[in-house]
């Protein structure tokens, strides 16, 4: 951690994003778990519904209607058509029954034709939950880097395109919630690898330039443990000298060559990644906190690892 930790738990709406494969969902789950452990009522929303988020709590996949999947944790999957139906019912008093019908077709069409409609229905639903205050915190397992910009920029884009009409009236209050750094924040997840790091740097700039949402933190996931300090490394090199290695193998009753080789691989991996981490930190605004989460050497992912990650995140946040 480089600067004062943001109080992510004080926010109302947190978007968690990052390049595919960096553990975005894992971090969203950890933040959700951490907030719940602090007594908050949390809504975790999966936008690219694949069921991964609920799986991290060992619960069955969720749908548009939030369900309590763990104490204090409600979970839902975004469905833009259901969101439109809810919107029409609540805001415009147009009840829509059933899925099939002209409306579904019309919706599909308008959503494809008018850019931003799907995006605004997603962001709109999330902002709506914040405004209604049913939950203390809404955590969004948001789409990968490039897509999230489109979503977060949608209210502004719609504002630019649509001059009048109800949608126009609806975007103002969304923008208000999204632009308020005391309510809304974005967490970019990355790993200490080349592509994720450069994408994170790009994302940081684009979030600033193209949206009104404030970036709260960068989370670096899968940070490998530092095996040795300098002195340890010198000794390690002494142990790797062929004759010494042979003596060691003899004493141990079997070849230790691959054990030492495995450690060398671990050290190299850690070192390559450390370079990317430095590059990331140098490229980020100095006041943007960088939180580090460990690489987990576990069998599988589930409730146990979600708790471990929540604990690690809590430590980084100073809780």
């Amino acid at each position: 951690m480089t600067t004062a930790a943001p109080d992510l738990l004080q926010l109302k709406l947190v978007f968690v994003t990052g390049k595919g494969g960096v553990g975005k969902t894992t971090v969203a789950a950890a933040l959700t778990q951490l907030a719940a452990e602090h007594g908050k009522k949390v809504l975790a929303c999966e936008v690219d519904a694949k069921g991964d988020l609920s799986a991290l709590f060992e619960a069955a996949p969720t749908d548009f209607v939030p369900r309590e999947i763990s104490p204090g944790i409600w979970s839902m999957s975004m469905d833009t058509e259901a969101s439109l139906r809810e919107y029409l019912k609540l805001q415009m008093r147009i009840p829509v029954v059933g899925r099939i019908g002209p409306l579904a077709k019309a919706f599909d069409f308008v959503a494809t034709a008018a850019p931003g409609v799907r995006e605004i229905l997603t962001v709109g639903k999330l902002c709506y939950e914040v405004r209604e205050g049913h939950y203390d915190l809404v955590v969004v397992d948001a789409p990968a880097s490039g897509h999230v910009i489109g979503q977060l920029a949608a209210p502004q884009a719609i504002n630019d395109l649509v001059k009048v009409g109800l949608i126009r009236g609806q975007t103002d209050w969304m923008l208000e919630i999204l632009s308020d750094p005391r309510q809304t924040g974005l967490v970019a997840v990355t790993t200490p690898e080349e592509m994720p790091v450069s994408e994170t740097l790009e994302l940081t700039e684009r979030i600033k330039a193209e949206t009104t949402v404030r970036m709260s933190a960068v989370v670096v996931n899968q940070v490998l443990p530092e095996l040795f300090g300098q002195r340890e490394e010198e000794i390690f090199e002494q142990l790797r000298v062929h004759e010494i290695e042979e003596v060691l193998s003899e004493r141990a009753g079997g070849s230790v060559a691959t054990i030492l080789e495995g450690a060398r691989l671990a050290v190299t991996m850690r070192r390559t990644r450390a370079g990317h981490l430095e590059y990331l930190q140098a490229g980020l605004p100095p006041d943007l906190p960088v939180l580090l989460l460990p690489f987990l050497f576990t069998r599988t992912h589930g409730m146990r690892t979600t708790r471990q990650m929540a604990q690690a995140l809590g430590e980084e946040l100073g809780h």
């Binding site: 690219d48 008018a114 340890e232 390690f236 142990l239 060691l248 070849s255 050497f297």
Partner: protein, 391 residues
């Protein structure tokens, strides 16, 4: 029936990626994000040039900056450029053919497509200036999917290359780009499209469509609807060209000359996505040529004998290290750490090996690429990866 012994030269070659690609014109690398898809596509294309020769194009989306720089691709766009032979020779390889590269510029590709289909200069100008068009082509990512396949079609039909290796854009859903051409065709032939355009031409609203318009008007506002309709009236002039083209693109993807390479790692989520992807390709009767698994940990980490030894090392580090170095205390600690690290990575390696064994729907070409010590950022690195997957 007597067993027929064929002469050695008639025996089928062992099925390998190299053999597969020698018989194809298009290889589409797809799979989850963050698994080295772009690098793998470039490596495969480079190998094809070294091994088989001919003209090979890699159509890429977003290569890592250092790799792009090393190949001399800085600042390239839609225009294909040739990678200099020196890039190969300085990596110790001899190119038997030519390697070309192009990067997908979504906005430019859309503009080119409009220019191609527009009936006249005036329509073209109007569409390019339309704010709705600019939004679709620039800001919204789904347009990526279609345009990538469209560019592939365009380049392939020019017939300049023996092999085109395509790196697919990161999509919301791994399959979006496969559906994109069909979606585009459906979209332009939609009845709703006609509904939407009609009233602003004739202002005649019939009883069937009236409820739709009144809702649409209330939600979107009349002005916006008018904007949409103007846009589609312009687009209508290009309707047939678009639909025809989208159909042709779909046909090309399912053509025998096209194969798909699913790229993944052995981490849990990518494996699940890769399995899903393989199943979908098979169901759509598209050719799943190979699965390429990147960043696979070395086998020795799973050796049970060594694991036992490592266990012992953690318990007896002090006595084992005694007298071997100039600092027995640190040596004991180092040995303990080393053994612990081996066991930790062993857990991951065993989990991943099991994932690989259980992988469903795998084609007969399934290749693994070891975890490389360093990042791949030049031709030497690409070929090191390429050699691993080729034979």
């Amino acid at each position: 029936m007597a067993r027929h012994r064929s002469a050695p030269e008639n025996q089928p070659l062992p099925h390998s990626l190299g053999q597969l690609l020698a018989a194809k014109e298009i290889a589409i690398a797809c799979g989850p994000g963050g698994v080295g898809k772009t690098t793998t596509a470039a490596a495969v294309a480079a190998m094809a040039v070294v091994e088989d020769g001919g003209r090979v194009l890699v159509l890429t989306v977003d290569p890592a900056r250092r790799l792009a720089d090393a190949l001399g691709l800085k600042g390239i766009g839609n225009q294909e450029i040739r990678i200099a032979d020196e890039v190969f020779t300085s990596a110790g390889a001899t190119p038997r053919g030519e390697l070309w590269a192009a990067m997908l510029d979504t906005k430019q590709s859309w503009d080119d497509l409009i220019a191609l289909h527009a009936p006249d200069e005036e329509t073209k100008g109007k569409i390019l200036a339309n704010p709705l068009y600019q939004n679709i082509s620039g800001r919204f990512v789904q347009s990526h999917d279609y345009i990538a396949m469209e560019r592939l079609y365009e380049i392939h039909s020019e017939g300049k290359y023996d092999l085109i290796v395509v790196d697919t854009p990161p999509t919301r859903n791994a399959l979006d780009f496969l559906d994109a051409p069909q979606r585009m065709a459906d979209f332009f032939s939609s009845r709703l499209l006609r509904w939407l355009i009609v009233p602003y031409r004739s202002r005649l609203v019939n009883a069937a469509t009236k409820p739709f318009y009144s809702v649409a008007d209330r939600i979107l506002g009349t002005q916006f609807l008018a904007d949409i309709s103007e846009f589609f009236i312009l687009f209508q002039s290009m309707y047939e060209g678009f639909v025809e083209r989208a159909d042709a693109v779909t046909r090309l993807l399912s053509d025998r000359r096209t194969t798909f390479l699913v790229v993944s790692t052995l981490e849990a989520t990518p494996v699940r996505e890769a399995e899903f992807f393989s199943a979908e390709l098979t169901e759509r009767q598209l050719h799943l040529g190979a699965i390429i698994l990147n960043k696979v940990l070395p086998d020795y980490l799973r050796d049970p004998k060594t694991a036992k030894l490592a266990q012992q090392l953690t318990h007896r580090a002090e006595s084992l290290a005694d007298g071997l170095t100039d600092d027995p205390v640190v040596a004991a600690r180092v040995l303990g750490e080393v053994a612990e690290s081996f066991l930790n990575f062993g857990v991951v390696a065993r989990r991943e090996a099991e994932q690989q064994a259980e992988m469903r729907g795998a084609p007969d070409i399934l290749v693994t690429v070891p975890f490389f010590d360093a990042d791949i950022f030049d031709m030497e690195g690409l070929l090191r990866l390429g050699v691993q997957v080729w034979d």
